[in-house]
């Protein structure tokens, strides 16, 4: 329910996302098809039925723990960050606070102790483990808190440090670095004794819109910044970090993960940037990959790149780190915002669920995604395009398609991993159209892919005047629809549940 709203919000933040495709030259599907003279259109069998045999799914959900308002302590956690703890413990941070999960029994995971975040603005944004006994959680406008987790059933506050706009954190050796939007400062703590953190002098001149700090493990930190992109920060002097030139990726960077000489940067709707850091002070983008949703967190495990992208979780092989190849993806239950990799598994923060996903590398399957759910035609008829992308590790085969009253053609019936195909739908025109495109594929989760096709009086609302209204926003200011005459207005009705 909330996914579209976030997608709109993220579109505002990160710039217009491309259609899910590696070739930026492709035009928006709703344009006329004149630009596609290079495509050799072919037809498919005129039937839409599930193939007799479907591949197995390599990526499976093996366990999930949901927190609801019935949770003892009575808060509701919307997970925004996830961090691996010792053994089978996982830390989750989000609205309501910090929770310790125990996944010893993967099918019946438990939630242990919790630490509530301040009442007035209840949300931790990031959690970082300093040692087996201490984690630190940062709260955007209330500062950060060092929490004793040595007894996972009973969390205790060690120390709180106030501050504004603190968000990204990286624990590196005996230091904790925290980015602050308040004047672009980097705040530093001496955590050589994690239960007695001591704040040192902050450094200014740092990026001012940093979502996360990533430790490369070799004396370099990288700031994932909304405005500047990816910013290298040298820790040659751990108490006096110095920043370098930002790598501008055209959109904001929300998160990143380091894999040796490579960095994978989460770009929201822009996908994931593949960055060469063989010169750590001068990272260079070499490739960009797309994901089905808006990539907000990434994590690397053993030769695997994982991404949480609102829609769900995706995983790529890093056998060739310069060119990650898709292996699998799945749509998650709610809204995926966080991911932490461990071996062939990943922990996914999926709104009120913490989930564990396992990858079976011996299985390969396709994963289909259409770029639209609905297509509107003029009553005069014409052609429209729909794009389908394969986010899986095996060939996606289109075995048939039906759409009553329309002609269907495809650019190819076999789509390789990471590639897309176009479908061209042509309608002769008429008074109305209320049909569905059914596309038969070998996608194991949803072999029959659908698009609603509309025209005429099913679109009777078109041209009708939008009812005027005056409503108040959350800050108490009023907004009247008729005052917006002259420019288009998007009205997105949503619910927080």
């Amino acid at each position: 329910m909330i996914s579209f709203l976030i997608a709109l919000a993220c579109q505002g933040r990160g710039g217009p996302p491309d259609p899910a495709d590696d070739s930026p030259g492709d035009s928006t599907p709703t344009d006329d098809t004149a630009g596609d003279s290079a495509v050799t259109w072919q037809s498919l069998p005129g039937s839409c039925s599930e193939p007799a045999e479907l591949p197995a799914d390599p990526l499976t959900l093996v366990g999930a723990k949901q927190l609801t308002q019935e949770h003892p302590g009575e808060f509701f956690v919307e997970l925004v960050d996830v961090e691996l703890g010792p053994g089978e413990l996982i830390y989750g941070a989000g609205q309501g606070g910090l929770v310790v999960y125990d996944f010893t029994d993967v099918e019946e995971p438990l939630s242990l102790g919790s630490w509530p975040s301040p009442q007035s603005n209840p949300r931790f944004h990031r959690v970082e483990a300093l040692s087996e006994a201490v984690v630190v959680a940062v709260h955007r406008d209330q500062g950060l808190e060092f929490v004793d987790v040595s007894d996972p059933n009973e969390l205790r506050l060690i120390q709180a440090a106030p501050g504004q706009g603190m968000e990204g954190m990286a624990a590196v050796g005996e230091r904790l670095y925290v980015s602050s939007r308040d004047g672009g400062q980097l705040r530093i703590w001496d955590v050589s004794s994690p239960t007695q953190p001591v704040e040192l002098g902050p450094i200014s001149g740092m990026p001012e819109n940093t979502w996360e700090l990533i430790d490369a493990g070799d004396g370099w930190l990288y700031a994932a910044d909304q405005a500047e992109g990816l910013v290298p920060i040298s820790l040659a002097d751990p108490d006096a970090p110095s920043r370098g030139t930002a790598l501008d990726l055209g959109v904001g960077v929300q998160y990143a993960a380091v894999y040796g000489d490579w960095i994978y940067a989460a770009l929201g709707g822009g996908g994931v940037a593949v960055i060469d850091r063989s010169d750590p002070s001068a990272p260079v983008e070499v490739h960009r990959i797309s994901s089905a949703g808006s990539v907000v967190q990434v994590s690397v495990g053993e030769g695997l790149l994982w991404a949480a992208d609102h829609d769900g979780v995706g995983v790529w092989s890093l056998e060739d780190p310069s060119s990650p190849s898709p292996l699998a993806r799945e749509t998650s239950e709610q809204f995926a915002l966080a991911v932490a990799a461990e071996g062939d598994s990943a922990w996914l923060g999926d709104w009120s669920y913490l989930e564990r996903w396992d990858l079976d590398r011996s299985i390969s399957s396709p994963e289909a995604r259409l770029d639209r759910s609905q297509l509107a035609f003029e009553t005069s008829g014409g052609s429209q395009l729909v794009q389908i992308t394969n986010y899986g590790g095996d060939t996606l085969v289109l075995s048939g398609a039906t759409a009553e009253g329309l002609d269907i053609e495809v650019s190819t019936a076999a789509i390789e991993p990471g590639e897309s195909a176009k479908l061209r739908l042509t309608w002769a025109g008429g008074e109305r159209l209320e049909s569905t495109l059914c596309l038969a594929t070998n996608d194991p989760d949803e072999p029959l892919q659908k698009v609603e096709l509309l025209a005429g009086d099913t679109l009777s609302y078109l041209g009708a005047p939008a009812p005027d209204f005056t409503l108040t926003d959350l800050d108490g200011d009023t907004h009247k629809l008729s005052e917006q005459l002259g420019h288009p207005v998007v009205l997105a009705y949503f619910a927080t549940w």
Binding site: G12, P19, N121, Y461, L474, L485, A492, T496
Partner: protein, 84 residues
Amino acid sequence: MVWAIASREDQATLESFRDALGIEMTILHDETGQVFEQYRLQSPFPTGAFPHDWVVGTDGTFVYYNNRFDQAAMVAAIESELNE
């Protein structure tokens, strides 16, 4: 101009929702649900479920509606209005 409209929610829940997700767009509060109801009845699929996405054109009439988030279609409708 993008307005997100929440109906029959409470102010505190909306504020935490906004802060939780870092939403910067305008969120309007349709406290009684009346505005939502007026719009719902205009839609071709008058379901009470969310989302309902409308685009109002430059002349104040509807140019787009969907009951599923479809970014490509919505952007196409907006661009078409801006290019007229």
